[in-house]
Symmetry: D2
Subunit: 325 residues, 4 copies
């Protein structure tokens, strides 16, 4: 059994980790750290876990766990690790964005590996520290990796993606207030979203010298879960060959499905899957990519990384029933 | 033109008042009081009013307006009136619950009249102070008044009603956080909702000695606007006669429609209407009542009261396009 | 491995069965019968199963399967069984309502057992034919069984329950048309819902001579999945003792959780769980019951029954991640 | 009073016309033609109009009305006009797409004028026949007209727009089935939407020789009403000057509001307004455009055209309360 600690236990990604780990055959949750809820039962916050997880939040960190998941707000992981020392062998999976860029990825003399299995599986297997990708970044990279792998990203990349309200976290705010959000749509951080850095870094890892524009408009959608992304770029090439590149890239992947049929976002909700839809329109390739932002876009992928780091089958605990509706 | 002041200008009921008054032919908005937004344009908070209302919030009260609408949190109207003195003739319409019960309805030596036109139209016309009914209370009373008028409420009244998230106000909270509320349903204050007092008071006004149980379960619905209420009581009587009582009671009413066909909540959204549906099942009469909580349930009814108090046609400014969808 | 046939394969309950069985360790899907989609891949209809289930719909029935799930429209199961003969030992689980009432439960000289494990577990284990309960009926019975067991249902039972749009099935209709349903609420079949029969039958099974009124208003909610039910009845008794009766009744049950805290519908979505919330208000006991209509209310419970019939652990394949959001 | 006939009376755009015309001071609805509902009251289909419009659907056309609104499915208006002859002076406003392109715009020896007031106001005033713009086309053109007017569209135009489910009409279908649509997102007709023709035609009207690519991805959103469109194009120019061009273009327009602040779709719902938000990001101009697809995108704009054609003030009957929430 893997002895697990979770830091920042009352947020959405921690809740999703707990829901997933409660059914993971090798997981033993050792402690769930939350300063605000210390002493209260886990199920007082993550109420669907009533009767599933007989454990209280704690404000004490046990340094001797096998793996720690950091579910803190963005920018808080580094400070936490500086203030809390773990055992030498403890693995760390950071769901925040502190260590995703190579320039920031050093800690304690070791490098964080960017935890996108479809890009870095081998490095993940031997890593001690993992920077788990962002949710938008996951959907977008999975849509583009096969092109980068084949050096086919030679024009501007246009991205429009919409996220559910869980993407904004558990803290209520004006744009996640139900009366405002319900039946509404809006965008934010157009052309400037913080995930662009990790996206470009991964594309450059596969396609040396990639420096085309990547234009990204993120939207707030009227749903709680999911990311729906459409991407297009000029790519005058035989469509069947392009489809083949995608199929080849993902043929051994357990969670990525490629299709030339129409897809919709609900196909992947509550699962660790990413569906990739491909269409050609004149000189443009249109790629549609959908994930569940809390599963493949966060906690599911974090467990996928844990599985790889501990030598388990990658899908362990991640064969999830699709939501359907 | 009626010179109008609005107190508590940044909340939902104030916003709805402003949207309605912006198209009211006799309304002149003199000031909109908000301590938190003083100095900012109205449209910085109620953004749909961009270009419609060229006015800033203020933290100064003008005592010389013709009418003041109090859109404060429940329990704050009395304190506000004690701290801010208006001109002798200024009319006051309180959208809060401070003055709805007769026992609380005295202020400055004058009584607040309970502002449900379908019950108290004549008294409203000559009143200086109005206590505007609660949203649930409006939907529920309109469903029951014809029975009380005819002394037919002789058994327990069972009520189940669901409200949209705007009913909880503009301040974000856990139960109005979009991820939690979307696709969800829950109840609160079962059997104890604060509107029961005004409901029973009105029933007793029409049916002397009424003291049967009124059991009320309020629910939180997955929509932003609207109240959907079902009520039933044992009433072994000829159905056609009962329908006739309702039709008679409401035949001259501009905003209440009675039908024996199926109704749904969206029929009345964005309007000042109340639809009443009637069915008989064995010995039980089932009454369905739907309103828009922000219009007939709050700001629309407040304007209806203003119209009556100033001798205008009751529907002035309240011929609103139904939402449809 | 259990060899499985599914009849009526393109509907919602069949889709949910397939999603669940795809991860069930003992399930082998032998055929999925659909006259309208024969020859097409399963994933052409249940698109989230792309890559999971490499199988086509068929219009040929294999009589030699171990178990058949009937996912036909209500009233069509009997006709299907008369036209299609299965092997002598084939078990049948009917998700329709043809065989739920004792009076209708005979077929082929054998009786259908009403498949509510919390009521009939032992009989289910040895049954060949199972009538799977209705979705409303499941939520409502689980709320009432402990009272019936203790002969405490001595007054009228008042029920208000709201269902998601999947409850109306896969065929588009006016009341499941998105523009109409979104942000709306309505009721249907008030006091007359077809599930009342099976509910009363079960209550009488536990509380001999039960014949009080059961008044039930079913509503259409603005969500796709879930049932939210509130029930109350006059029950002047010590609250702690009542809670104890519920805890005792459900203490060994894997899927029913009893609490005196507030509950909401989303706690159980995508799971086979039922959450029961208890409150006392004066002489009334208020019971809140929530399930996922497609899982515990249909396909999950059907698999639970299959597990019992084949001697598997009851929770096999049913440890599902809660939706959370 | 303007004597009005409506053809195709049971659809969404006809319903919205009726809701609007019911409060229009100069409108007299003479007949509402519907073959499927002939003989039934208007309120049996458009139920919110109960008590507002005492009229039945008819299958007889009165040729002597002042104006006819055609609310038929796309492609059916021409056939209808060929089969039904109106009086010589009867004005026709077609809400379908039969006559929007100049090449198709001839009928009876007269040309249909493309009814976008912000582009063709003067021509509309004297026109007898109007082709009312498409909903997407309206939102998109209003976002681009000031640039075309100033010949600033010199690069590819990228458009991503999401529509509510009412955009698909009153007939239930798989992609408007509530269980599928709720909480979902998808795209359709990418790069090929039928509104591209009228959009490009209008741009060419203002910017001679415009022939850049216009790339458009239309999406299906999880809401009933509204269009949320984002557009960007390379435009290296001083931002303040661009904003000024927009403000100049729209300064006298009653329904278009330009802002550099953040906007969201709900600002315009239930109104005839279009909000245009402007941002500059490097060399790109980002334009956000939001309308209500049934009002400014269809029936409201049709009435705006009627007002212009009959010499009324353009806003007559179109001062609508914004939905707010």
């Amino acid at each position: 059994m893997i002895k697990i600690g979770i830091i920042g236990g009352s947020g959405y990604t921690a809740g999703e980790l707990l829901r997933l780990l409660a059914n993971h055959p090798q997981a033993q949750i050792n402690f769930v750290y939350s300063t605000t809820n210390a002493g209260s039962p886990i199920a007082s916050v993550h109420e669907d876990l009533l009767g599933e997880l007989d454990l209280n939040f704690t404000d004490t960190v046990n340094p001797d766990v096998d793996v720690v998941f950091l579910c803190l707000g963005h920018g808080k992981s580094l400070a936490f690790l500086q203030a809390n020392v773990f055992s030498e062998g403890t693995k760390i999976i950071d769901l925040g964005n502190d260590f995703r860029l190579t320039a920031d990825a050093q800690f304690n003399g070791k490098a964080f590996v960017y935890g996108l299995p479809e890009l870095n599986r081998d490095a993940i297997k031997t890593a001690q520290y993992i920077a788990n990708p962002g949710c938008f970044a996951t959907a977008i990279q999975l849509a583009l990796l096969p092109l980068a792998k084949n050096s086919l990203l030679n024009n501007t990349v246009h991205i429009n993606a919409t996220t559910g309200s869980t993407g904004a976290g558990v803290m209520p705010s004006g744009t996640s207030h139900h009366p405002w959000r319900m039946g509404n749509m809006s965008h934010y951080k157009a052309f400037n979203h913080q995930h662009l850095g990790e996206i470009v870094q991964s594309l450059q890892q596969l396609q040396t010298g990639f420096d085309n524009e990547v234009l990204f408009i993120p939207n707030r959608g009227d749903f709680a879960r999911g990311i729906f992304a459409t991407l297009y770029t000029k790519l005058p090439a035989d469509f069947d060959s392009i489809v083949k590149l995608y199929e080849d890239y993902y043929k051994a992947e357990p969670f990525v499905k490629v299709t030339t049929g129409a897809i919709n976002m609900k196909l992947v909700l509550q699962t660790n899957n990413c569906f990739i839809g491909l269409e050609q329109h004149g000189n443009y390739l249109l790629i549609t990519s959908v994930i569940d932002n809390l599963v493949k876009g966060a906690s599911g992928q974090a467990i996928e990384n844990m599985n790889l780091m501990f030598g388990l089958e990658e899908i362990t605990g991640l064969k999830l029933k699709a939501a359907g509706f």
